[in-house]
């Protein structure tokens, strides 16, 4: 073993770096400066803002719960909007999602259904709420209809995708027995998509709960109107109370959604929920927010 170790040929850099990350970094930096200039964002504004922030947060605390009746009424209305919008949205989205599935339906049926879902998805719920406030007047009904549209867009899209991903073997087997169309759906298609359906239905309930606390800003009912009014009257301590109430409501909603998922997807019992702290199998849904 006396042969000398051969020296490596000299190299400047054995791992040359790619040039494009640096170019991208420079481009991003240039864009940030340009956009800040366009938006009139400057350090002075941030500084004066931060001085305001101290004052603002000082007035936010302590939260003021003296008008709790108004708060509770708004929260209840938000909850009603979320429940009814989810129900209506799911009821409308299921047939639409089924009609949009290209593996079960002919093209002349699936395209119109998909078009409706795309339109329902592309407008922000608040903008839809503005239109419904004009159509049916101020109040909870406008909020319900706006969030129904949003739910149709979201659930319709995901339901279509879920159905398009099913295995057709079961469907064929049920068809081979001579089952009519609705039995094929009931025994061949729906059992395959049921757990995913539970996943996005609970997610949509959550999402509607969040949005129902907001549509009130444009007059469509719920706690949002109270919040906006409190902001405009600079009742910041009441604003803080409303925010705390909204966050608690949303967290309760999330707990409920997790429990439903644990029961239907993880086959948990009620006792399991308390034992594992509403755990069960976690399934993630990275589709929308």
């Amino acid at each position: 073993m006396s042969s000398p170790i051969r020296a490596l040929p000299p190299a400047d850099d054995p791992f040359p770096r790619a040039w494009w990350p640096r170019v991208t970094m420079v481009l991003v930096a240039v864009y940030v400066v340009y956009a800040c200039a366009q938006l009139d964002v400057s350090w002075e504004r941030v500084q004066t803002g931060l001085a305001n922030a101290a004052h603002f947060f000082g007035r936010l605390f302590p939260p003021n719960f003296t008008r709790w009746e108004l708060l509770l009424k708004g929260l209840l209305e938000s909850l009603q909007i979320a429940v009814l919008a989810s129900t209506l949205g799911i009821a409308l989205a299921l047939p639409l999602g089924l009609l949009g599935a290209r593996n079960l339906m002919p093209a002349w049926v699936s395209w119109p259904a998909r078009a409706i879902v795309v339109v329902a998805r592309s407008l922000h719920p608040v903008i839809v709420a503005i239109l419904f406030v004009k159509a049916v007047g101020f109040g909870a009904l406008a909020g319900i209809l706006a969030l129904t549209v949003a739910s149709v867009g979201f659930i319709g899209k995901l339901f279509t995708e879920a159905i398009e991903e099913i295995s057709l073997k079961q469907v064929e087997a049920v068809r081979a027995t001579g089952a009519p169309f609705f039995s094929v759906l009931g025994y061949g298609v729906l059992p395959q998509v049921f757990s995913r359906f539970i996943g996005f239905a609970t997610y949509q309930l959550d999402s509607n709960l969040r949005n129902s606390t907001m549509v009130g800003i444009v007059g469509a009912g719920g706690i949002g109107g109270t919040l906006f009014a409190a902001f405009q009257r600079f009742d910041y301590d009441f604003v803080c109370a409303i925010l705390i109430a909204i966050i608690s409501l949303i967290m309760l909603g999330e707990l409920f959604a997790t429990a439903v998922r644990a029961i239907f997807i993880g086959n948990a019992t009620l006792a399991d929920l308390f034992r594992r702290g509403a755990g069960g199998r976690r399934d993630r849904l990275v589709e929308d927010d």
Binding site: Q38, E77, V83, I144, N211, I263, V286
Partner: protein
């Protein structure tokens, strides 16, 4: 096995145990009760519902013909401002969310209090709607695009941080152990061990959030936080319906363009 010992066993096959069936029934019961209670107590004014078709027809007739002439004057600038708010807000969110995401990943930061603290930040960021964030920042910084950008950024921290944290937790320990064995400092471990593993997830999260932010930044102006929503609010308050129609079409167009761009980039990347 005698017949007597089998007698106690339920011969009929059931998919779920009685306890599971009770749990399912409880969920159905809660849902039905909630729907019935909500439907009975909600305040709906029947007169408003009755003249809804008339109102919609009125709305559409006022919106038509769409006022295309206004586009160059004040809609285009507001639209570009909306895009700037969405992009700057997303960049700022990425910068702020990555440290929080790292803190939330329990395989990287082995301290439960720090993990929980990071999770608390993420949950509160997501629980507050972007319009409410915008209201807060308008209160602090005054009306304008700065408030909108910060609202978008703070709302996005929760989303980006949560997904980055989850991506980090799913990273394979092999490369990390190899790097640790060489005595690499933590910065190198992060940069050469974790980053290559989460890079695809990171860029797809960033693009996805940008797409959402374009939608959201279009409405922030309703509470005074800049962008095309401010033009929409002004047009609504002045009952300039043809202009409202134009702005709605502009928003729809920009949202669809953003979605197409993101889908195309994702297709190229994957």
């Amino acid at each position: 096995m005698s017949a007597a010992s089998l007698a106690g066993i339920d011969r009929e096959w059931r998919r779920f145990t009685p306890a599971q069936r009770v749990a399912r029934f409880a969920v159905y019961f809660v849902i039905v009760a909630a729907i019935v209670a909500a439907a009975q107590t909600i305040e709906i004014i029947p007169e408003f519902l009755a003249d809804a078709p008339e109102q919609v027809a009125d709305l559409l007739s006022r919106m038509w013909p769409v006022d295309w002439g206004d586009y160059a004057d004040d809609v285009h600038g507001a639209l570009v401002e909306t895009l700037h708010i969405a992009s700057l807000g997303t960049l700022l969110a990425l910068v702020m969310a990555v440290p929080v995401g790292i803190l939330a990943a329990h395989n990287l930061v082995r301290s439960t209090p720090l993990n929980l603290f990071a999770k608390l930040i993420l949950v509160s960021s997501r629980s507050v709607n972007s319009l409410v964030w915008a209201l807060l920042f308008v209160g602090i910084f005054g009306p304008g695009a700065l408030a909108g950008t910060l609202a978008i950024a703070f709302r996005s921290i929760g989303f980006v941080g949560k997904l980055v944290g989850e991506a980090l937790e799913e990273a394979q320990p092999g490369p990390i152990e190899a790097l640790t064995a060489t005595g690499a400092p933590w910065r190198s471990i992060l940069l050469y061990g974790y980053w290559p593993q989460v890079k695809p997830a990171f860029w797809s999260i960033a693009l996805f959030r940008w797409d959402i932010n374009v939608r959201e930044s279009a409405v922030l102006g309703l509470v005074g936080a800049g962008g095309i929503g401010m033009a929409l609010d002004a047009a609504l308050n002045l009952f300039q319906w043809p202009k409202v129609a134009l702005i709605l079409i502009a928003i729809l167009a920009i949202v669809i363009v953003a979605e197409v761009v993101v889908t195309q980039i994702r297709k190229r990347m994957i």
